[in-house]
C-alpha cells in the first residue's frame, strides 16, 4: 500500500502543518511508514506552497508524490498547476471560494469535494486559520487514510499550545462534513 497525498496553496494557509499532522498520525500513531516533504519559496507568506505526504506499510523509497491518490487545493495557482498530476479517480478537496476557475471536464474523472472551506472554518471556530485542520478532518473522514483517533492525537501534538481545543473543533467539523459527503 503506497498512498500519496498532495497539499497545496499559498504560504500562511497551513499547508505544511496539515501535511506534518497527517504524516505524524500515520508514522507515530499507526506505526506506518510516512514521509512528508515540502517545497516553498523564500517568502514566509504569500508564495506558492506545496507539501506531500507518502504513507506506506513498507519502507518508502522515492519520497515524493508521483501521481497523488488524494489532493487538496487551497488556491487557484496550486489548482491550475497541480490538478492534472493526480491519479485517475483521486479524491480531491478544493477551497471553492479561492479556486474560481475549474477544469470541470477533468474533474469528472475524480471525486471532487468543493466547499467554501475558509468560510466554514470561520463559522465553526471563529478563526479562518483553522481551515487547514478542518480540511484534514474532511480528508481523513472521507478516505480513512489514518484513523480518527490518530489524527486527533497528531493535531494535539502539532498545534500551538492553548489552541488544541479550537483545532479539534475544526477537525471534528471536518469529520461531520465527511459523513454527509460519503456516498
Amino acid at each position: 500500500m503506497r498512498k500519496e497525498v498532495l497539499f497545496s496553496g499559498f504560504g500562511g494557509q497551513g499547508v505544511i502543518l496539515a501535511s506534518v499532522i497527517l504524516g505524524r498520525a500515520a508514522a507515530v500513531y499507526e506505526n506506518l511508514y510516512a514521509v512528508q516533504t515540502q517545497s516553498y519559496g523564500p517568502e514566509s507568506r504569500g508564495g506558492a506552497s506545496r507539501a506531500e505526504v507518502v504513507i506506506s506499510d513498507e519502507p518508502i523509497d522515492y519520497p515524493k508524490a508521483i501521481t497523488p491518490d488524494y489532493a487538496v487545493f487551497f488556491s487557484q495557482e496550486a489548482y491550475t498547476k497541480f490538478l492534472h498530476t493526480v491519479k485517475e479517480g483521486a479524491t480531491v478537496i478544493v477551497e471553492k471560494d479561492l479556486v474560481p476557475h475549474r477544469d470541470t471536464e477533468f474533474e469528472e474523472r475524480l471525486k471532487v469535494i468543493a466547499l467554501p472551506l475558509t468560510e466554514i472554518a470561520e463559522e465553526t471556530t471563529g478563526l479562518s486559520l483553522t481551515m487547514n485542520i478542518l480540511t484534514l478532518g474532511i480528508l481523513v473522514g472521507v478516505t480513512g487514510i489514518v484513523g480518527r483517533e490518530s489524527i486527533e492525537k497528531a493535531v494535539r501534538d502539532a498545534v500551538p499550545h492553548g489552541t488544541e481545543e479550537i483545532n479539534l473543533r475544526a477537525l471534528r467539523k471536518g469529520f461531520e462534513l465527511a459523513e454527509k459527503l460519503k456516498p
Binding site: V20, G23, R24, A27, V28, Y33, A34, V35, Q36, T37, Q38, S39, Y40, G41, P42, I60, D61, Y62, P63, K64, I66
Partner: protein, 382 residues
C-alpha cells in the same frame, strides 16, 4: 541523564532535527553556528536542547567564526559540531583545513542547496561533493558521510562523532535541502543502545608531550585537553610530534601529512560503508549517494519489473572513496549509471574506480528537484 526529547521510541521529525538529536546522544555539548537555509533548524534545535543538557549553543558572527569556535571547543574537551549550507561551507574551508592539520575532532554538517553562491536556498542539490573532499587547500584527508533518509541522518551523525573522535579528524556530513526539511519516521534509541566512542587521552606525561606523535602505531595520537595540566602547542604550520612549527624540513611535512593520510586510509575498511540492493545478478549497476539513492532504489525495482537485471550500490561514505569496490562492480556489470544532483562529480570518481572495465554514464540533474525514478529508468532502457 534526562534528554530533552523522547528516547527509546519513534518520532516523526525533520532531517535537521534528527541530526541535532543524534549529536546530543553522541555526546555533543558544543554547537556554534550561523543561521542559513536549509540548516537553520539544526541550530534552532541545538539552541533549545543544549542548555538542557549542560551544553553550549552560540551564534557566531559568521561561519568562519563558527567553525573556529567548534575547533576551540574540541581542544577544550567538548564534542563539537557546526552546521551550514553551501555559502557558509565555502567560508569554513580555511578552518576545515586547520582542523585537518591540527587533528581536531569536529563534525561539520552541510545541508546542500543549489549553488554556486547563494543559488537556490530552499532547493536541494549535490553540488558540494568535491568541495567537501577537496575544498580546503593543500594535501589533506578527512571523512565525508552522506545520508539518504532521516533515519540515516540520525545514524550517520552518531557515526560521524565516533569517527571524528576515534581518528582525531574532522568529519563532514553531506545532506541536502530535501533531507534537511523532510519529515520521516525515525527511531530515537535509548542511550544504552548506542555505541559512543571517545577520543584517546594521553595515558601519561610522555604521551602528553607528543600530541602529534604516534605512540600506539595506529597513526592516531592521544589528544591532550586544554586546562587539564599539560602545555600544548597547536598550530596550522607544519609541526613536529611535540606540536612546534618546523616548516623548512621536507621530512617533517612528509611525516606529518603522511600520518594524517595513513591514519584514515589504513582503516578505510572500517570507515567506508555502503549498501547494495539487488546487485548479486545485476548486469546494470546504479551508483549513488544521498537522497538520489531513494529514486535509484525505486528505479531498480521498476527496471526489474521490465526484465532488466539492475542493481544499486549506495554509498554512505563518500570519502575515503572505495575505488576497489567500484572496480569489482565494473568487472561484474555491463554498464554503470551515476545519477546525481549536479553536472558530474561522483561520476568522475566512479569512472576512475571502474578503470575502463565497464562503461560509466552520468545522469545529471540540477534545478532543485530530485531525479524521479522514471528519469533514471528511461536513461537505462533508452
Amino acid at each position: 541523564m534526562r534528554y530533552p526529547f523522547p528516547v527509546g521510541r519513534s518520532d516523526f521529525i525533520q532531517g535537521d532535527e534528527a541530526v541535532a538529536r543524534a549529536a546530543i546522544l553522541a555526546g555533543c555539548r558544543f554547537y556554534a553556528g550561523y543561521p542559513i537555509t536549509p540548516a537553520s533548524e539544526i541550530f534552532e534545535a541545538m539552541a533549545l536542547y543544549m542548555p538542557l543538557v549542560d551544553g553550549v549553543s552560540i551564534q557566531m558572527e559568521d561561519e568562519i567564526g563558527s567553525i573556529a569556535a567548534v575547533i576551540g571547543a574540541s581542544w577544550a574537551g567538548a564534542k563539537a559540531m557546526t552546521a551550514t549550507s553551501g555559502p557558509g561551507f565555502s567560508l569554513m574551508q580555511e578552518n576545515l583545513g586547520y582542523a585537518v592539520m591540527t587533528e581536531t575532532p569536529i563534525v561539520v554538517v552541510n545541508m546542500m542547496r543549489g549553488g554556486p553562491s547563494t543559488g537556490q536556498p530552499t532547493f536541494p542539490a549535490q553540488g558540494d561533493l568535491m568541495q567537501a573532499v577537496w575544498g580546503t587547500h593543500g594535501d589533506h584527508m578527512l571523512i565525508v558521510l552522506s545520508p539518504s533518509t532521516v533515519q540515516e541522518a540520525f545514524d550517520l551523525t552518531i557515526r560521524a562523532f565516533n569517527l571524528a573522535e576515534k581518528y582525531r579528524t574532522p568529519v563532514v556530513i553531506l545532506g541536502d535541502a530535501e533531507l534537511a526539511h523532510m519529515r520521516e519516521r525515525v527511531y530515537i534509541p535509548n542511550p544504552d543502545e548506542i555505541e559512543v566512542v571517545n577520543r584517546k587521552l594521553p595515558a601519561n606525561e610522555d604521551e602528553a608531550k607528543l600530541p602529534f606523535g604516534d605512540p600506539h602505531g595506529d597513526g592516531v595520537p592521544p589528544m591532550p585537553i586544554f586546562g587539564r595540566g599539560y602545555r600544548t602547542y597547536v598550530t596550522g604550520l607544519t609541526h613536529d610530534e611535540s606540536g612546534h612549527p618546523r616548516t623548512v624540513e621536507p621530512e617533517v611535512q612528509q611525516k606529518l601529512i603522511g600520518r594524517i593520510f595513513r591514519k584514515i586510509l589504513d582503516h578505510k575498511d572500517e570507515i567506508i560503508s555502503y549498501e547494495t540492493f539487488e546487485l548479486d545478478d545485476a548486469e546494470i549497476a546504479i551508483v549513488s549517494t544521498g537522497i538520489v539513492s531513494r529514486s535509484a532504489i525505486r528505479a531498480v525495482k521498476m527496471l526489474r519489473e521490465r526484465g532488466v537485471r539492475a542493481g544499486l550500490l549506495k554509498l554512505s561514505t563518500v570519502w575515503p572513496f572505495d575505488f576497489e569496490v567500484i572496480e569489482e562492480l565494473a568487472e561484474q556489470v555491463r554498464k554503470i549509471y551515476v545519477p546525481e544532483m549536479n553536472l558530474g562529480q561522483l561520476y568522475h570518481l566512479v569512472r576512475e574506480g571502474a578503470n575502463g572495465k565497464a562503461e560509466v554514464e552520468l545522469i545529471a540533474k540540477i534545478g532543485g528537484e530530485v531525479h524521479t525514478p522514471m528519469e533514471i529508468v528511461e536513461r537505462v532502457v533508452g
